[in-house]
Symmetry: C2
Subunit: 384 residues, 2 copies
């Protein structure tokens, strides 16, 4: 009996032969074996692959776990900060510092209750040598101001640029979507920080005044781009070095954006979608002067959450693709890309009814897909 | 009683108040009124808007009709060539010569039985002054060689370039898909001819040898591009002047292509789809050296037939879009474009189960959609 099946037995989890053996799914240009890599995770949201092949995985209610290379799930790690877990909040993303191999530093993004309400917080910590907990846990950034009402649209995905700087996406907090256009406000933005949490001197709004503040207030220097609604996908294109982001529209108007410094992505002035009740967003137009158009947009929605570029060796025909975990309709979207362009779309596993939250590439080139389920799983797509 | 409802009464056609009044459909960024512009057409396939607002429409079994600006359907026009109407054949596209206003010349593309089998034929004719028939009907080009087996994949869409030259798409004839790669063969190509049917001197294969013929045979000089499967969509981008084409893949791998002179679009060496039985196409790869990648591809298929760029005034938010009539799943696809790029997708009317064959823009900016039905209709999308 493997450690994994023993653990499954102890936890009383179903672990059928089918899940072990998997099934072969034919896709275009390739086929893959679909297996359950891990189960027993409550709404897994973020994941980071360690240099030794293990996987750090967040559970939205506030737990962080380490998965062995064969999918065995550890007990919750100690030292994880308390998070605000209502509605769309919780412990959301996890990312390794670029120098993790020597520093063991990790970054967490999560919802947090502070004086005045809830906000998106970035936290830095060190993974203990025994890997059983976090040490030196320190908040790095709060996407202020906090918001008293609602617990929605935190954004919260982390990525690193080639220069080692950190990008963090934040949501518009839903009820107050106009925050996305304010330069004196960190909601509805992509932020950029140095590896140790300072503001890089070449950030686009350093020393600039926020127009909304009528010349009284400075723009927040952490802002890299603005006008975002709820970006939960953020990844560096490994071939071009560009930052790509995915965000949910309301009804229709989901977007993939090429993130440029200082650019305005238009929310909530313009959108390719409409509001949930069918009413217009902002001006009712899809574009406006000074607004950067998406690289790609969908109507109706696919609700893209986490994204990953595929540069693995296991699926040669998938190299150059961007994968997006889709919540609704649920499935896995593969976009073909050429440079910083989208050139095609394949929809995988849309017949399963499994809401997908995030996708990461394993060291062996397999794809690992986190499912948004109370009894969540990590699915594995490997050659077969 | 209007002429149209009188005609409908005489023809015994259903013409409900609902079809007259239509319904208002909410789309993203706009809403539109959906009405039945015309009915009683058997599998309409191609359409051309006359300068006076009337519409020439082909019916696949071999009829050509003229529709008044309010949708009244004429009796079949006289003088239409006999066509081979089995399976996917028939009278397919119709296009006006660029100087139609003075010459009254039209071009027809249709399937034809000749010695040795069936092929795609381009025919030129003059619309009689009384508009009741065709005169001076002359074949212009046969996409030789004819094929004895099968009656599939004729391609057959006509478009004109800014220089007045004519483009014609031809299909691979299905059973013999390798023909698409042969330069001594007109199947599976986009062809280019002068307005009067000659070969332009600057066509890319003029005077070149066809490699397949082992140095013995010349390439067909009519060829503009090759490696196409079954392109039924062909339209000039009005903003860039580029030629765009849409073609069906087999299972998955439908494509929108930017047509460049001399370029190879890969069929059947490579495809983003697989064959109907799930087996690989050609090398099983999606790309190959020397093969031009599609601008956009879909998996699963939408089965795009006719296409039209929208430059009308009625729907400002649709300007810059490419519409594609989709057969399966049936509906209308709107692609956002920027220059010669695809930047987004909206799916309209996919809840109706109506196979759509072609789409054209009416002079007033309404969209007219030909339905692929035995009792076919032309649907009208107008502001509402």
């Amino acid at each position: 009996m493997t450690r994994r099946s023993l653990l499954a037995l102890l936890l009383g989890l179903p672990l059928s032969a089918q899940a072990q053996q998997g099934e072969v799914v034919r896709a275009q240009g390739t086929s893959f074996r679909l297996t359950t890599f891990a189960s027993g995770l409550e709404r897994p949201w973020g994941a980071a692959v360690l240099p030794d092949g293990r996987l750090l995985v967040t559970e939205r209610p506030g737990r962080l776990r380490l998965l062995s290379a064969d999918g065995a799930v550890s007990p919750p790690l100690a030292g994880v900060p308390s998070v605000e877990a209502a509605r769309q909040g919780g412990l959301l993303d996890v990312a390794l510092a670029p120098d993790f191999a020597t520093t063991r530093e990790v970054f967490l993004c999560h919802a947090m209750l502070v004086q005045g309400g809830a906000l998106t917080r970035l936290t830095r910590a060190r993974l203990a040598e025994n890997s059983r907990g976090l040490e030196e846990v320190r908040p790095v950034l709060d996407a202020t101001p906090p918001q008293s009402s609602g617990r929605l649209h935190y954004g919260c995905r982390i990525a690193f640029g080639r220069d080692g700087h950190l990008f963090l996406s934040t949501g518009d907090r839903y009820e107050t979507k106009e925050r996305a256009q304010r330069l004196d406000d960190l909601a509805g933005k992509v932020l950029r920080l140095t590896r140790d949490g300072r503001v890089p001197a070449d950030n686009p709004f350093v020393g600039r005044v926020a127009p909304e503040a009528r010349g009284q207030g400075l723009a927040r220097p952490e802002i890299w781009s603005y006008g975002h609604r709820n970006p939960q996908g953020l990844a560096l294109n490994p071939w071009t070095g560009s930052l790509w982001a995915a965000e949910f529209g309301a009804r229709g108007g989901d977007e993939v954006n090429l993130i440029r410094p200082g650019a305005n992505y238009g929310w909530p002035l313009v959108s390719h979608g409409v509001d949930y009740d069918g009413s217009r967003i902002g001006t009712g137009r899809q574009t406006a002067p000074g607004v950067t158009e998406p690289l790609f947009h969908w109507t109706p929605s696919v609700s893209p959450s986490g994204i990953a570029f595929y540069d693995g060796a296991a699926f040669p025909s998938w190299r150059g693709s961007l994968f997006l975990a889709a919540l609704n309709p649920p499935g896995l979207v593969r976009l073909s890309t050429e440079g910083d362009r989208v050139t095609g779309e394949e929809r995988l596993l849309f017949d399963r009814g499994i809401r997908m939250r995030h996708v990461v590439v394993a060291p062996d080139g397999a794809l690992l897909v986190l499912t948004d389920e109370a009894r969540g799983r990590i699915l594995r797509l490997s050659p077969g």
